[in-house]
């Protein structure tokens, strides 16, 4: 005789619920986190972590622009190529800034050099944050 009661969580229904929460595109937090800083964690309902990551990365990027930092637009040599790879880590921030023409064309003062490094490092930190969101999504990290 099969016994069941409404509202009672059996092992089978618990497993189903666990699988439902893991369904969907597994790389979505990674891509969202790359495009918008903190978005990967927001998708996983890690509100506090996402907000802190977004504030840190966007803040660093904005400070870099405020210091008249340079946004790499092309790669003339290997150092430019590395700088552009770092800048690309900022996702939409990088593309929007390029479209709006933000950032200095040339580094002329010391602060602008700091700003350029702030922008590159913001991109690298964003990649770390996006990978962290992916690890949370796959269960490698809790």
């Amino acid at each position: 005789m099969l016994y069941s009661q409404k509202g009672m969580a059996t092992t089978a229904t618990k497993n189903d619920a666990g699988q439902n929460s893991q369904q969907g595109f597994v790389y979505l937090p990674l891509i969202a986190g790359w495009l918008v800083p903190g978005a990967g964690h927001f998708l996983l309902r890690k509100w506090g972590r996402g907000a802190l990551l977004a504030a840190s990365i966007v803040g660093m990027f904005a400070l870099g622009l405020a210091m008249k930092g340079k946004i790499y637009t092309g790669a003339q040599d290997i150092l430019d190529l590395l700088g552009m790879a770092g800048d690309l880590g900022n996702g939409l921030l990088f593309f929007v800034s390029r479209v709006l023409g933000l950032g200095a064309d040339q580094v002329q003062v010391t602060t602008a050099d700091y700003g350029t490094k702030f922008i590159v490092v913001a991109g690298l930190l964003n990649v770390i944050a996006a990978v962290d969101a992916h690890n949370l999504r796959t269960g490698r990290k809790s």
């Binding site: 972590r49 802190l52 990551l53 504030a55 840190s56 990365i57 803040g59 660093m60 400070l63 405020a66 210091m67 008249k68 602060t111 700091y114 490094k117 702030f118 490092v121 913001a122 930190l125 770390i128 944050a129 990978v131 962290d132 990290k141 809790s142």
Partner: protein, 59 residues
């Protein structure tokens, strides 16, 4: 335009980088906070130490 001093730039850099390192490298909030403080101290401490080394070499 912001004209940050060298030390202000170091402090801001260390603050943001330590926040991201703390959140991404540890699992519990307490350990995240402790690791963030640890990274911040190392960033700022090593910058001050290297500054003194370069100052003494330049003399």
């Amino acid at each position: 335009m912001i004209h940050a001093s060298h030390f202000t730039a170091v402090l801001l850099f260390a603050l943001f980088a330590s926040t991201v390192f703390g959140i991404t490298m540890r699992e519990t909030p307490r350990r995240m906070f402790r690791y963030g403080i640890y990274c911040f101290t190392l960033f700022v401490g090593s910058a001050i130490l290297l500054s003194w080394v370069m100052f003494l070499i330049a003399r």
